[in-house]
């Protein structure tokens, strides 16, 4: 079959958060936080395996994490974790048909019922809670 350029928008279009409101920002953050958390999880499994090297190995690893960079990284992980959890619950509810509105005869100007204030509040809550958790984490880590 003849190859035809599909004129796909590509990754640039997929991750562009500017055109379609906060829902596309949430979509992007969900992907990024998911990938970030997976990377952290793999790293976490590796770092905790250092305990097998005994007390010296464990202490060496702990020293590495007890740096400013280590604390900032962990704070970002906390933020990603909270955002991914809260927004994930919102998406799961939405995907189960909860809070997406009921079918009805549409009237001009055709404001889509699925893009409603409940879901927008869910997204903003996820962002705010992630920020609060990150600040709390920074407080705990730098407060010591």
């Amino acid at each position: 079959m003849e190859h035809r350029d599909e004129n796909k928008e590509g990754i640039g279009g997929m991750i562009n958060p500017r055109r379609y409101g906060i829902e596309r920002v949430a979509y992007l953050l969900m992907r990024l936080s998911g990938l970030g958390l997976l990377a952290y999880f793999i790293g976490h499994i590796y770092e905790t395996s250092l305990i097998l090297k005994g007390e010296v190995g464990w202490s060496e690893f702990l020293e590495l994490t007890q740096t400013t960079e280590g604390h900032v990284l962990l704070a970002i992980v906390i933020a990603m974790c909270v955002f991914h959890t809260v927004n994930g619950i919102r998406v799961m509810l939405g995907e189960g048909g909860v809070g997406v509105g009921k079918p009805a005869r549409p009237d001009y100007p055709y404001i889509p019922a699925s893009q409603n204030v409940k879901h927008k509040i869910g997204i903003y809550s996820a962002i705010v809670l992630a920020a609060i958790a990150m600040l709390y984490g920074l407080g705990v880590m730098f407060g010591e």
Partner: protein
């Protein structure tokens, strides 16, 4: 006769709004011999009620008749004139210059559809996906054979799907969808919304076969409820709602 002249007088006395001008940038590309897309610029006067399609047709009429654009009804019914207007998929006939709030209007072909030429794109994939979900009533009996009664529905039953029956297959939803931006195999929001339209129809008995069709690796699960499809739909179909309600059947929340 008197009535006709009074209308003529009325029209003549209606003050015309002062004409302004807008710069129209049209993407020009012919995949058969062009290596890259080029933009042509035209300065076109417009009125309060002028649509993007109107100024494109002005260009065709007075400046360059070779601009390729598909259109027909000029009233958001045929779904032919979908294109990217200032970066977002819209119907050219349904978008007034004044509502764009910009002195420059850039029109490009819709993304996620192969380009035929300039602003005209191919719809094969959309129609194939639409056809794939069996967009017709599935049942053993028929209302057109003798001794059968018309399939009656209550207004409440009609409400369940009538919104989704408004789809004009313009393809704007598929163009805005973030999954479609990279996934060449995704069935797309248009077809998924239509799958819901028939599943929700009380006369239809094909729910299980449709759910089976969309429950595959590039089916309904590749929708992540970003909702861009619903934001660009010019007919209020709200595909995102239909898709989530449809997914409710697969998750066991609906029966």
């Amino acid at each position: 006769m008197a009535q006709v002249s009074s209308i003529a007088e009325e029209q003549a006395s209606t003050p015309l709004s002062p004409s302004k001008s807008v710069t129209l940038r049209i993407a020009r590309f012919n995949p058969e011999h062009d290596s890259e897309r080029k933009f042509m610029e035209f300065t076109i006067p417009y009125k309060k009620w002028t649509t993007v399609l109107d100024i494109i047709l002005e260009v065709k009429k007075y400046f360059d008749h070779s601009v390729a654009v598909r259109y027909s009804c000029r009233q958001a019914t045929c779904g032919s004139c979908g294109m990217k207007i200032n970066g977002k998929p819209m119907l050219a006939c349904f978008t007034k210059i004044t509502e764009l709030d910009s002195d420059v209007i850039t029109v490009e072909p819709m993304n996620n559809f192969p380009i035929i030429r300039d602003l005209a794109v191919r719809f094969e994939r959309l129609f194939e996906s639409h056809h794939k979900i069996k967009p017709y009533l599935i049942r053993d009996d028929s209302e057109i054979t003798s001794n059968e009664k018309e399939f009656l529905q209550s207004p409440k039953e009609v409400e369940q799907y009538i919104q989704f029956a408004n789809c004009i297959k313009c393809g704007l939803c598929n163009s805005a969808c973030p999954t479609m931006a990279t996934d060449s195999s995704f069935v797309g929001p248009q077809a998924l919304a239509q799958a819901y339209r028939y599943v929700a129809d009380s006369r239809d008995k094909g729910k299980n076969s449709r759910l089976k069709i969309i429950d595959e690796s590039h089916g309904i699960w590749r929708c992540h409820f970003a909702g861009s499809c619903s934001q660009v739909c010019p007919k209020g179909v709200d595909p995102a709602m239909g898709i989530q309600l449809l997914r409710g059947y697969l998750l066991g929340f609906r029966s």
